[in-house]
């Protein structure tokens, strides 16, 4: 079968020929439909994130997949079930406590493998196998958009944890700010539709398709070149819920100032080491005196995949049409990895239902 992989030392993915995998006990064989591409894939390709499976010089890419069960192999699944795989897997022979307690998403990186990212092959192949417990059934109608379930689940988890952090009192947030107008930022902005007022921070000039989506969603575009993140509270309003989705290391330190009293900041971006000056005293005091919270979030659990499934079904058609900027056949897979200002979310199509 054909797969899209990155080889050790290469700077771009390539199509490779691999044997079709055989499901082991407890695993199902899945025929791949579509697999999305995101910033993590680009980081994996650039070598800044993740790693090859042990003893191998090639990593099959892709962690945002939807497929159809080809061979249930005695698991509870049925042939024809449309499924989305979760990403984390226990390191071989070590089903550690995080997995045993069904909270692999809360594990430290060293306690997990991540399919398509770190130490385990991804889903960009015509077929893949997975333990049935890591396959989430989705409605057949969601087959075309099932590759959005994983990225939406990332937003669902962060929002769940942020809400939990404010659950000891009667929190009534009204304003939300998403920092970043990449694919995760825009999905999150759509997920946060219940907020009265939403802001999305970017660094783009008009005309721009992401700004069109932001405004189409009824949110306000904030150009951080004019209004830095720490000034949003002055220029617009204090923010009850802020969501950082760029990985720019200074953002958390700036965003805290723009939080409203009792507000929360969710962090999802992954920066590199960078030492800089902050007024740590003022930040520390602000967090205390205004009861602010900061919650880091990575990966997601099956419950987040399930809420993501419901969420995607509620997205308006225009949003999905504008958001998915390309679904490319395997023969043109490199177009799915284009990362320019016309690209929001692209995917590779491996098959159809």
């Amino acid at each position: 079968m054909q797969a899209i992989a990155i080889r050790r030392g290469a700077d771009a993915p390539a199509v490779v020929e691999l044997p079709r995998p055989e499901p082991r006990a407890g695993e199902a064989l899945v025929r791949t439909l579509r697999v999305g591409v995101d910033g993590t894939d680009h980081e994996v390709i650039e070598g800044g994130h993740g790693g090859f499976p042990e003893g191998e010089d090639l990593l099959v890419l892709g962690h945002e997949a939807v497929g159809v069960v080809e061979d249930p192999n005695g698991t509870g699944l049925e042939r024809g079930d449309v499924v989305v795989p979760t990403v984390r897997r226990p390191p071989d022979g070590d089903p550690n406590g995080w997995f045993a307690r069904d909270q692999a998403d809360m594990a430290p990186p060293e306690a997990t493998l991540e399919r398509g990212i770190a130490g385990a092959h991804g889903f960009m192949s015509e077929y893949f196998t997975s333990e049935a417990e890591y396959l989430v059934r989705v409605p057949e109608s969601l087959a075309p958009l099932g590759f959005l379930v994983e990225p939406v689940s990332i937003a669902e988890k962060a929002i769940e944890h942020a809400n939990a952090s404010r659950s000891a009192f009667d929190w009534r947030p009204e304003s939300a700010m998403v920092i970043g107008n990449g694919s995760l930022g825009l999905l999150t902005l759509a997920v946060l539709g219940g907020y009265d007022r939403r802001y999305c921070v970017g660094r783009r000039d008009r005309p721009d398709p992401t700004i069109d989506i932001i405004e189409g969603l009824g949110a306000t575009y904030v150009d951080s070149r004019r209004t830095p993140v720490d000034r949003v509270c002055d220029v617009h309003e204090p923010i009850d819920f802020a969501f950082e989705a760029t990985g720019f290391a200074r953002h958390p330190f700036e965003a805290i100032r723009s939080l409203a009293p009792a507000g929360v900041l969710a962090l999802l971006g992954v920066p590199e080491p960078w030492t800089f000056e902050v007024d740590g005293g003022t930040i520390h005091k602000d967090v205390v005196m205004n009861n602010k919270a900061v919650v880091g979030s990575v990966n997601s659990a099956k419950r987040h995949f399930r809420s993501a499934t419901d969420r995607i079904e509620s997205f308006p058609d225009w949003f999905v049409d504008a958001f998915v900027t390309g679904v490319h056949p395997l023969s043109e897979f490199d177009r799915a990895f284009v990362d320019d200002e016309t690209s929001i979310k692209r995917a590779v199509q491996f098959g159809t239902l």
Copy 2:
């Protein structure tokens, strides 16, 4: 009646003669039993925190009080009820939404007055009045220790919010670290008795009464001159729950590293502005990749006063005896404000039941 107050321009509190207050509608008159002193009082005296009531040049001190109802004045209270007052009050004529929703503890500083701290007289007087809704009844047996209810409630609130922030998954914390061996730190260490392993960070040499208490509670004393806060994870173990109670501005940035995966840091200290270098990229990445949380907490609500009441009744006698280093009559009130290494928690005695 006599009261202990700080005058504008003075650098030490003094006993002043004030008229005994008359309760207004909805208020009860309380005869004061004991009032504790803490770091906030010292900050108020030094002028670094809080402020005088509008139009006045004198602030009656004290926010950690216990008293007995002298005149219920038609409120639901009864004469003889032992009560502890909460600290925050709505600014005159502005019962804003925070108070209306019974979450004054989550309000920003500018939306509240704080009795004995900011804009409203405290409880260090032979009598005080308070709206009955801000008086929490405690058992008569707690009259001698009722002045500990407010400081314990501060720990209870921070722990409640920290636990809430970890409530979206099955969190099973085992290790706790309290940064600071002042009175709040030691109370918190006692409150966290359910943790398997506890550490308390200070900067004192043995012999020291706070180290004796730390070890008496079964916790490990960590001298931060030898083991900085960011090395506790290496020298001892990663920390599930960390509690910052010093207000040293660098601590949060250091403590995040020592958190275990999915751990939480509660911040309670209040530093001054201070700009310094941090590796913001590494901190940001660590918070994300390890699902860490940071929760600021100030003040407390009536439910925290109630849980504090139960908590204090569970404290062993030896702890209370070692912790309360002095209860001084009004004639020797200045001894309650001694702030040396032999002082842990001191109080002024105004009366007895």
